[in-house]
C-alpha cells in the first residue's frame, strides 16, 4: 500500500480504502506531511474531474468528507505545522443561512493548502471587515443561495471599500444564483457556481501573488 494507492483510492472516492491505507502508512512510519500532500493532489484531480463534468457535487461532498476523515487521523501525528499557501476569510452573507456550498468550498480550500477562517452564516458586512483587519487574508470568499444574498454581497464589498481594505484582498463570490452579471454588480473580482472552480481561481491568485 503506497501513497500512489492512496491517491487512486481517493480519486475513486473509496472512503474505506483511503482510510485503511492512511492508517497503515502511519503505522509503518510514513510521513504525515506526505499523506496530506497525496490527499491534496487527489483533491486537485477530483476538482479537475468536476470541471470536466465527470464528477458532480455529490462527489465533491464525498471527497470533502474523505479529506476531513483523513485529517482527523493524520493531523495529530504531524510534527510541525505546514505553512498555508494563503489565508481566506469565508462566510455566507447577511440574510442567508445556507451553508452547503460554503462548506464544500472550505473543505476544498483546506485540501488545497489554504488556511480558512470560517465566519459561518448570516455574516454582516462589518464582520467581514473586522475579520480582514484581524487575519489579513489574501482572499475573501462570500457565499449565498438566496437572491437576496446578492444585495448583501454588494453591501459587503462596499463596506470593504469604505474601510479602505479593498486593495488588500481579492474577493470571490459563490453560490447557485451568482454569475458574471452578479459579479460585476457586486464589485467582486471573480465568481463561481462550484467549489472546485472557486478553489482553482484562488489557487491562481496565490500563484500570482507568489510570482510578484
Amino acid at each position: 500500500m503506497s501513497l500512489k494507492d492512496l491517491v487512486e483510492a481517493y480519486i475513486d472516492l473509496d472512503e474505506e480504502k483511503v482510510l485503511k491505507i492512511a492508517e497503515n502508512l502511519l503505522k509503518s512510519g510514513g510521513d504525515p506531511a506526505e499523506i496530506i500532500e497525496a490527499c491534496r493532489s487527489a483533491t486537485n484531480i477530483i476538482g479537475e474531474k468536476f470541471e470536466r463534468g465527470e464528477y458532480f457535487l455529490s462527489e465533491l461532498i464525498l471527497a470533502g468528507e474523505i479529506f476531513n476523515s483523513v485529517m482527523r487521523i493524520v493531523l495529530p501525528q504531524l510534527k510541525k505545522e505546514i505553512k498555508p499557501i494563503g489565508i481566506i476569510v469565508l462566510g455566507t452573507v447577511q440574510g442567508d443561512i445556507h451553508d452547503i456550498g460554503k462548506n464544500i468550498f472550505k473543505a476544498f480550500a483546506e485540501a488545497a493548502g489554504f488556511k480558512v477562517i470560517d465566519l459561518g452564516v448570516d455574516v454582516p458586512p462589518e464582520k467581514f471587515v473586522e475579520a480582514i483587519r484581524d487575519y489579513k487574508p489574501d482572499t475573501v470568499g462570500m457565499s449565498c443561495l438566496l437572491t437576496a444574498g446578492i444585495e448583501s454581497m454588494k453591501k459587503t464589498v462596499d463596506a470593504i471599500k469604505e474601510a479602505s481594505l479593498r486593495d488588500m484582498v481579492k474577493i470571490i463570490i459563490g453560490g447557485g444564483r451568482v454569475d458574471k452579471t452578479t459579479c460585476e454588480y457586486t464589485g467582486a473580482d471573480a465568481w463561481t457556481n462550484d467549489a472546485a472552480t472557486g478553489v482553482r481561481i484562488i489557487l491562481k491568485w496565490a500563484e500570482e501573488k507568489r510570482g510578484r
Binding site: 455529490s58 462527489e59 440574510g95 443561512i97 445556507h98 438566496l146 437576496a148 444585495e151 447557485g176 452579471t181
Partner: protein, 427 residues
C-alpha cells in the same frame, strides 16, 4: 407632456376595463402552453420576493404574519405587475412536506399542511425553518434550513413504518413546540395548528377571489415531492443524504420506495379536474447528483410518482432547481405532454428547449441575474432574441429561473420583462 404608454400600461388598463375577458385570455393561453399547443402569445409568469416587499412597503415579517398588511400589498403588486400566471405565497410559505407525509392518511388537510407558514412555525417551533421577527430579522427572507433529524442507523425503523417514525421520532426531535407525543402540550399544539390553518385558508380563499376579480386565473394545484428530497430536506440534510447513497445504498433506495405511496396519497387528496389540475414538485437534490446517482437513487421513484399521477389525469409542474442539464434526457422517458418543466438555470437553456420542445411544456429562459443587474434595454434585447428562437413552436412559458427578485431590482427592469413578453411573444 404625458409619458408614452408602454404595452404593460395598456395591459393594466385592460385588466381594469374588462377583467373577465383578460382572465379568459390568460386561461386559454396558459392551458394551450401546458398542452404543447400554440397560444395567441407566450404566457409570461409572475414575480415575487423581496421586490414585492420593497415595492409595497411591507417587511418579510408582514408578509409572513400580518394578514391585514398582506392583502393591500399583494393586490397593488398584482395590479401593477400583471402576469398570465404566477405563484404568490400570501402569507409566505416554506417547505413543510414532511407534515403532509405525517398526515398522508387524512386527505382533507394533508395537502394544506404540507407548507409551513410563520404562524404554524410559531406553534411547532420547528428547526427546519427560520422566520423573520423570530429567529431572523424582520426584513429577512424566511428560510428553509433543513437539518439532520434521523441518524444513519435509523433507516431500518423508518422503512418499517415511515409515517409512524415521523410522528414518534422525527417530529418530537425537530419540533420542540410539540413536546412529547400524547402529552397535553402535543395535543393542544395540533388543535392550535388546525385553528391557525383554518384562519389562513379562509384568508387565502378571499384573497384569491379578489385577485381573480382583477382579471387573473388559477388552476387547481396539488402537491408531490421527490422521495429522495424528503430524505435530504427533512431527515438527513442534503450532504447526509448524498453520503448515504454511497454508504447505505440499499437502505436509501428502500426508504425512497416506501415514500412513494404516501406521497401519492397527498397528491391525490385533490382530485383532478379537467381541463387542468397540476401537481407541483420542487426538486432539490437533482442538480447536486451525478447522472449515476440521479438515475439510481433519485429519478426512478420520482418517475413512478409522475407517471402514476399523469395516468390519473393530472399534469406535472416541476421546478428543476439549479442546473438540471446533465439529467434532462430522462424527462423524455415521460409520456409526451406530461406537464410543465420549470428550469432554474440550465447551462444552455436553448439546448434544453431543443431537446424537450413538442414533448414537455418548458418554463423559464430569463436569467434572474439579468433582471437584477441588467438594464431595460438589455432585458428587451435578450427576450426579443430568445422568443425569436422559441417561436413558432408552442408549449413555452416565459419566466425567470426563480420568481423571487431581491429588493433592489428596479421597477423599470421588471416592467421591461413584462413589456418584452407582450411585444415579442405574440405568435
Amino acid at each position: 407632456m404625458a409619458k408614452m404608454k408602454e404595452p404593460i400600461d395598456l395591459w393594466i388598463e385592460r385588466h381594469e376595463r374588462e377583467p373577465d375577458v383578460v382572465a379568459k385570455e390568460k386561461f386559454d393561453r396558459f392551458l394551450k402552453a401546458a398542452e404543447l399547443k400554440v397560444p395567441d402569445r407566450v404566457p409570461v409568469a409572475g414575480l415575487f420576493g423581496d421586490f414585492l416587499c420593497e415595492y409595497t412597503g411591507i417587511t418579510w415579517y408582514d408578509l409572513s404574519y400580518n394578514l391585514e398588511k398582506i392583502r393591500p400589498a399583494v393586490l397593488k403588486f398584482v395590479h401593477n405587475f400583471p402576469s398570465d400566471w404566477g405563484i404568490i405565497f400570501a402569507p409566505m410559505m416554506l417547505e413543510g412536506f414532511i407534515l403532509g407525509l405525517a398526515f398522508a392518511d387524512f386527505p382533507d388537510f394533508s395537502n394544506t399542511i404540507r407548507f409551513l407558514t410563520g404562524p404554524v412555525h410559531d406553534i411547532l417551533k420547528d428547526k427546519w425553518s427560520q422566520w423573520p421577527g423570530r429567529e431572523i430579522k424582520e426584513d429577512f427572507h424566511p428560510q428553509f434550513r433543513g437539518g439532520e433529524f434521523m441518524k444513519p442507523e435509523e433507516y431500518k425503523q423508518f422503512i418499517e413504518n415511515p409515517i409512524e417514525f415521523i410522528h414518534g421520532t422525527i417530529l418530537p426531535r425537530a419540533c420542540p413546540g410539540l413536546g412529547t407525543p400524547g402529552s397535553p402540550q402535543w395535543n393542544a399544539a395540533w388543535i392550535k395548528i388546525g385553528m391557525t390553518m383554518q384562519k389562513i385558508a379562509s384568508f387565502q380563499a378571499q384573497l384569491i377571489a379578489e385577485i381573480g376579480k382583477m382579471g387573473n386565473i388559477g388552476f387547481p394545484l396539488t402537491n408531490a415531492y421527490a422521495p429522495a428530497d424528503v430524505i435530504g430536506d427533512f431527515l438527513r440534510y442534503p450532504t447526509g443524504a448524498m453520503l448515504d447513497m454511497k454508504r447505505r445504498p440499499d437502505e436509501f433506495k428502500m426508504a425512497c420506495e416506501v415514500l412513494v405511496e404516501p406521497i401519492l396519497k397527498i397528491a391525490t387528496a385533490i382530485p383532478p379536474v379537467p381541463p387542468l389540475t397540476v401537481f407541483f414538485a420542487p426538486l432539490h437534490l437533482n442538480e447536486m447528483l451525478s447522472p449515476k446517482l440521479y438515475n439510481e437513487f433519485y429519478w426512478p421513484h420520482l418517475k413512478k410518482i409522475i407517471e402514476t399521477l399523469v395516468a390519473k389525469g393530472y399534469k406535472g409542474f416541476i421546478f428543476f432547481e439549479g442546473d438540471h442539464s446533465p439529467h434532462v434526457d430522462t424527462i423524455l422517458e415521460l409520456p409526451k405532454g406530461w406537464g410543465i418543466a420549470w428550469f432554474e438555470r440550465p447551462k444552455n437553456f436553448m439546448e434544453v428547449w431543443e431537446k424537450l420542445k413538442g414533448h414537455t411544456a418548458v418554463m423559464g429562459g430569463v436569467p434572474t441575474s439579468l433582471l437584477i443587474g441588467g438594464t431595460p434595454e438589455k432585458i428587451d434585447e435578450y427576450i426579443k432574441d430568445l422568443l425569436s428562437k422559441i417561436k413558432p413552436e408552442g408549449g413555452f412559458i416565459l419566466s425567470p429561473g426563480v420568481n423571487e427578485l431581491p429588493k433592489t431590482t428596479s421597477v423599470a427592469n421588471v416592467r421591461a420583462y413584462i413589456n418584452a413578453a407582450l411585444k415579442y411573444g405574440v405568435y
